[in-house]
Amino acid sequence: MPDLIVIDRDGNETTVPSPSDRTVMEVIRDAGFDDMLALCGGCCSCATCHVFVDPAQADLLPAISADETDLLDTSNHRTEYSRLSCQIQLTESLSGLRVTLAPDD
């Protein structure tokens, strides 16, 4: 079971064990983090599951798609470590991934 480390908007850090084959968004949502709206449910159609990944781990992630980058551009808080968490599959090899929930847009 891969672990996901989530830092919420208040700076609190929580380690969430997850079943395999979930997206990071699903793990965060199902763990009950109210800060994450995830309005579209994972269709890569909004930017409300925006997270910042730990800079040290950014290279481990799959490449960003054109759709994802367009959506991230709609956020006022985009940085080079921005990702939509619905587009990251939390595989065993990503266990220990640290993500910070982006501020509300």
């Binding site: 079943p19 395999s20 084959d21 979930r22 997206t23 699903e26 949502r29 199902d30 009950g32 109210d34 709206l37 309005l39 579209c40 449910g41 994972g42 269709c43 890569c44 159609s45 909004c46 054109a66 759709d67 367009d70 959506l71 619905c86 599959q89």
Partner: protein, 441 residues
């Protein structure tokens, strides 16, 4: 006389006309209320609705299709009825559909769907939507008026989803006829709520979709159904044919009805809100805002349902396992705790996209991006080619006292008919209608 909140939401034709008044009467007792004589709770509060929709550990979606009033096929017992729910899943209406799934089965099945309506896919389909809506708008405006639901909304949304999925042209009319002949989803006539009949749209379309998927598994093509036919679960395993068939048929049926109703409800606001249509013509970039506000005030889905499968709480109210819950999305969207002047129409409300018309959480509507695109585009056309759109007073009465009929459904908020009159805009040549709709056939 029986108090409004004590009447039966699931069968009452007066509530059908104005469900909002019913839910306000319920809300006067608090955001979570059990009307006398009913064996379910009604949740009308925005915060409480969110709480239920997001707490999928304690609340099962198993009764989403049959609704909160239909009896369970078992007697709930104990503080955790999860096993009982699973043991009876096949005896509950829609228990084998994604919309009613829970837990891992839901998450992995939903993952198949999440890849279908991405922005780039919709963009690729936008040309078809644009051409077809252009054609249909010009035709109807040249005619001076139409019955919007039959002449525009239903064929439009059906052809859009058919084109997007790759349903062959010859089968599209057949699908429309089958859907048209069937009772609405969530019929007020309880006996009609059976999916097993051989003429039910899901059964008929299921047969077609099985063939499409098998054909594509044998001979790949370039369309969404092809991608669907070759899709895998997140763990790499291959879905059963039946799972894909059920989902494709449901998608077609669900996408059809609710999007068509959204167009009807939008046109009604456009015609009845003083000054609104001119404002939208002057600045068409406001149309997405209009759609969100119509979704909030009069979204196509009035309610859904959940079953508490463990002893839990909603707000400070204890809710025992086995409690059925009517989740009144349309009431949450008019909760004064969340929305200023909740019953008033207003463009540019802050955080309007957080309305609950599409639900929230793991079951949130997967077709929302498609609905937003297609209804926006056709509204742009109707507004651009007219100087005025009005309802036909001979059919619906004057503004302020309209006579409108709604499909007899406890789920869908949708006009049965909407007779509309158009005044063409000056200088627009409506004869330019091209032959693109024929290509679309």
């Amino acid at each position: 006389m029986q108090a409004l909140e004590e009447r039966d939401y699931f069968t009452d034709y007066e509530i059908l006309k104005d469900p909002y008044a019913f839910f306000e009467a319920v809300r006067s007792h608090g955001p979570v209320y059990q009307p006398p004589g009913r064996d379910y709770l009604i949740v009308t509060g925005f915060a409480e609705t969110l709480e239920v929709l997001k707490n999928s550990a304690d609340f099962s979606a198993i009764i989403g299709v049959q609704g909160a009033s239909a009896p369970l096929p078992f007697e709930p017992s104990g503080s955790d009825i999860s096993e009982q729910v699973e043991a009876h899943r096949d005896r509950i209406l829609g228990g084998d559909l994604l919309v009613n799934y829970d837990d891992d089965l839901h998450t992995k099945t939903r993952a198949l769907l999440n890849r279908l309506f991405t922005p780039s896919r919709l963009k690729a389909n936008e040309r078809f939507i644009d051409e077809y809506s252009d054609e249909i708008a010009r035709q109807m405006i040249a005619r001076g008026g139409c019955e919007l639901m039959r002449d525009v909304a239903t064929p439009f949304v059906t052809l859009v989803i058919a084109d997007l999925l790759g349903v062959p042209a010859d089968d599209r009319q057949h699908f429309m006829n089958v859907i048209d002949a069937a009772p609405p989803p969530g019929s007020l006539n309880t006996e009609e709520n059976d999916f097993r009949g051989e003429n039910h749209p899901l059964t008929v379309m299921g047969g077609f979709f099985a063939r499409y998927i098998l054909e594509r598994r044998a001979n790949p093509r370039e369309d969404i159904l092809n991608e669907f036919a070759h899709s895998t679960y997140p763990d790499g395993s291959v879905p059963e044919l039946e799972e894909l068939v059920k989902m494709a048929a449901f998608l077609f049926g669900a996408g059809q009805d609710t999007s068509a109703k959204l167009l009807g409800n939008s046109i009604r606001y456009i015609t009845d809100q003083p000054g609104l249509q001119d404002q939208l013509r002057a600045d068409p970039s406001l149309i997405p805002q209009l759609l969100e506000e119509v979704l909030r005030l009069e979204g196509s889905t009035k309610q859904t349902a959940r079953l508490a499968r463990r002893d839990t709480r909603i707000g400070d109210r204890a809710v025992p396992a086995g409690t059925k819950i009517l989740v009144a999305l349309s009431a949450a969207n008019r909760d004064g705790e969340r929305w200023e002047e909740p019953n008033a129409f207003a463009l540019n409300r802050p955080k309007i996209k957080e309305h609950l018309a599409f639900g929230r959480g793991k079951h949130v509507c997967a077709g929302a991006p498609l609905a937003r695109v297609e209804v926006r585009i056709i509204l742009e056309k109707f507004l651009a080619y007219t100087s005025n759109i009005d309802l036909d007073e001979a059919k619906h009465g004057p503004r302020g006292n309209r006579d409108l009929n709604y499909d007899p459904s406890f789920i869908v908020r949708g006009l049965t008919e909407l007779h509309v009159k158009f005044t063409p805009a000056e200088g627009v040549d409506l004869s330019q209608a091209s032959s693109q709709a024929e290509t679309a056939q």
